[in-house]
């Protein structure tokens, strides 16, 4: 039990000593104050339409903890794309050993004009999109292959029933091969689909064709599944 006494005694001594020190002469002057942080933030453009995006850019220095309201903690310097639905004020807080600095940037979001009132065409368009099937091709081929005949026949039947609808057939190709040859091939594919439909009684005057070659792919991976998606005659409603 002696050691407990000893510990208590030592503790008391230490406390006394500590308390005593407070009454000692003032401590040495504190080190110079750390530099105050700086912060700036900007958004470009500062007005966008709803659905658009703007670039938010910020710079800070001497800060250890930087955050932007609504975004959270961020790197001391950086930029990112933002696309808020409503006008937003971005409030940047940079905290450092030398204090806190704030900066704000305002992004005004204007609402897009209201969509035009629905017309009868929208229904037609919906009908078109629900019923008309694209026609898919083999590699480097533009003849309608056996398993696509049902699509072509169903499309022809639909267009026969909806004589008011005109449309464009887009010829598309996969990414392999040359830009120029693929445009020529896409042209041939679009013509092949058009020809199949006119054979089934659809008036050629209702059909426009365009080739996109490999310029507007539906799918951008480099594998056969994706390539097959891109080798097609694609129907687009034209009123």
């Amino acid at each position: 039990m002696k050691w407990i006494l000893l510990v208590v005694a030592l503790g008391a001594l230490l406390m006394l000593g500590a308390c005593g020190k407070k009454k000692q002469p003032p401590p040495p002057p504190p080190p110079p104050a750390p530099p105050a942080p700086t912060a700036s933030i900007a958004v470009d453009p500062n007005t966008i339409q709803a659905g658009g995006s703007a670039s938010l850019t910020w710079q800070t220095s001497n800060a250890t903890d930087v955050s932007i309201d609504g975004i959270g903690a961020v790197q001391p310097n950086g930029s990112q794309s933002v696309s808020p639905t409503d006008s937003t004020t971005y409030h940047l807080v940079a905290k450092g050993a030398g204090g806190t600095q704030e900066a704000t940037a305002r992004l005004t979001v204007t609402q897009a004009p209201p969509p035009p009132p629905p017309t009868a065409n929208v229904t037609d368009q919906d009908l078109f999109n629900q019923n008309v099937k694209d026609v898919y091709f083999d590699y480097d081929k533009s003849d309608i292959r056996g398993d696509q005949q049902t699509s072509v026949q169903a499309d022809a039947q639909f267009f026969t029933q909806h004589t008011n609808m005109n449309f464009t057939i887009e010829g598309h190709c996969d990414e392999r091969g040359s830009t120029e040859y693929n445009l020529a091939l896409g042209d041939q594919r679009a013509s092949a689909v058009k020809s199949a439909l006119t054979t089934l009684g659809i008036s050629a005057s209702r059909i426009k064709t365009i080739s996109y070659g490999k310029e507007k792919p539906f799918c951008t991976e480099s594998n056969e599944a994706c390539w097959q998606q891109n080798r097609r005659g694609h129907f687009v409603y034209q009123k």
Binding site: R176, S178, T179, L183, A184, Q188, S191, A192, S211
Partner: protein
């Protein structure tokens, strides 16, 4: 000097090919590595000599050893430093990629380099280590906003009468002016040391770039500098082809009426009128005399594109091909103006064909695979084209560039470095080829000598394709 005396075609035999293919993967360990290095040293010269085309510029004649010490400041203007760097870098690169001289490495140069004729110490240059045959030197100085360059070419082995060339250039001081002066001086040297063929240092390359978000036509100097946008259509512009006199640019663009040929005046800096053909219109090509344009068109409700020839104004288009299958990418033999090479899919995969300009005498040039983008050499002798030679399941399917001798239909492979290489186009001096490749990971424009050496990347921003070299 005959520059293309013989088209040398030698390919690796299968034994060599298998060794070169095995090289990077089959040997492990230090001992094997040492053996491998030995084999490589022994074989590399033979392999390189065998599988790469030699078009003649380097055959039979040893290239002149040319020393090009940095030009010296001619005045004490503070602008000198930056302009000297531009000038020296541009001049060195022009001479290096020209393919007609062997540049002596700067590490062999004496400490004292000349900026004026009296400062030339012949013994320091014409003996080893530099052992130069020729010395290009001079000075550059800015004085009251005016840049002046003096340059000389000396035959340093001919001490009695060394001067081959002495030139002076002056213009308002600017980085562009320094670049132009370097190009002009380089072309003078190349003209004299390269058998009297005009250099290409002042030529332009037109190309397609998507760096604005849309595919537009752009232009740049032949070395990749000074890249600038030509069209601002906000649609898709493809297949730029500059006219032989450099004043007009024909190209194909997606308009509201489909793919049409458009004509841009380089002089007026705007589109000029060109008739709408109807249907899909692609890949225009100028005849060597600039009076005709060949193109691919499905006008008149054709089921696929055919090759047409029209006047340069677009008037009186005349159809040349009638086969089933897409025809595209015509190019004239600019030497004779009597033949056109083109791509045709009449037998399935596209192949290269040639025909007379009236559509007769159609000849298939490639026998297999996927062959596209023919480009006729200015001398009329070769076709450069892109070829996936073995096509189908289990084949690697790399698209490489090839050269074919028109007369014999013999071919050699120019690129071996993987990736998809396409759209080769010859330089007007017949020594270089510009092309597109995704070998760097993205689609960019590259140039090389026509023997496959001195490969240089020219573009780095966005995706860039379909380069077309100006005719002069």
């Amino acid at each position: 000097m005959l520059l293309y005396p013989k088209f040398l075609l030698r390919r690796m035999d299968e034994a060599d090919r298998s060794i070169s293919r095995r090289r990077p993967i089959s040997f492990h360990g230090l001992a094997q590595t040492l053996v491998l290095i030995g084999i490589c040293c022994f074989l590399s010269s033979a392999l390189l000599a065998q599988d790469w085309v030699k078009t003649g510029t380097s055959l039979g004649v040893e290239k002149v050893r040319l020393a090009v010490p940095d030009f010296k400041p001619g005045t004490s203007d503070p602008q000198n430093t930056a302009l000297l760097k531009t000038f020296n870098d541009t001049l060195w690169n022009d001479l290096d990629v020209s393919g007609v001289v062997e540049l002596v490495s700067k590490s062999f140069y004496p400490l004292q380099v000349p900026g004026q004729p009296p400062e030339v110490n012949f013994m320091a240059w014409n003996a080893p280590p530099p052992n130069a045959g020729m010395l290009a030197f001079g000075n550059l100085g800015v004085a009251s906003g005016k840049l002046t360059v003096q340059g000389w070419l000396y035959d340093v082995k001919n001490i009695q009468s060394p001067q081959v060339l002495g030139k002076q250039y002056s213009d308002t001081a600017s980085d562009a002016a320094a670049r132009v002066m370097a190009h002009k001086f380089a072309d003078e040297i190349i003209y004299r040391l390269g058998g009297g063929i005009q250099g290409i240092a002042e030529t332009q390359i037109y190309f397609v770039s998507d760096r604005t978000g849309h595919k537009e036509i752009w232009a740049m100097d032949y070395d990749g500098s000074n890249q600038h946008q030509i069209t601002h259509l906000g649609s898709i512009a493809l297949s730029p082809r500059i006219s032989p006199d450099g004043t007009r640019l024909a190209f194909s663009a997606l308009t509201k009426n489909g793919w049409e040929l458009l004509m841009f005046s380089i002089e007026l800096n705007r589109l000029v009128s060109f008739p709408r053909m109807g249907g899909t219109n692609l890949s225009p090509a100028w005849s060597g005399d600039g009076t005709k344009i060949a193109f691919a068109s499905s006008r008149g409700g054709e089921p696929d594109t055919e090759i047409y020839v029209a006047d340069a104004s677009g008037a009186s288009p005349r159809r040349l091909t009638t086969d089933r299958g897409p025809d595209v990418a015509p190019v004239w033999n600019r030497k004779t103006n009597s033949q056109i090479a083109f791509v045709d899919g009449r037998t399935g995969l596209p192949q290269i064909y040639t025909m007379e300009v009236d559509g007769t005498n159609q000849q298939r040039m490639t026998d297999q695979g996927y062959a596209v983008s023919p480009n006729w050499a200015p001398n009329g002798q070769f076709l450069a084209f892109a070829w996936v030679r073995r096509y189908g399941p289990g084949e690697p399917g790399a698209s490489d560039l090839y050269l074919m001798d028109i007369a014999s239909k013999q071919w050699v492979q120019l690129t071996h470095d993987g990736g998809r290489n396409d759209f080769p186009c010859w330089s007007p001096d017949n020594r270089h080829i510009v092309f597109q490749s995704n070998r760097s990971g993205s689609l960019q424009i590259w140039s090389m000598l026509a023997d496959g050496t001195k490969v240089q990347q020219l573009t780095f921003t966005g995706r860039n394709s379909q380069p077309n070299w100006s005719w002069k």
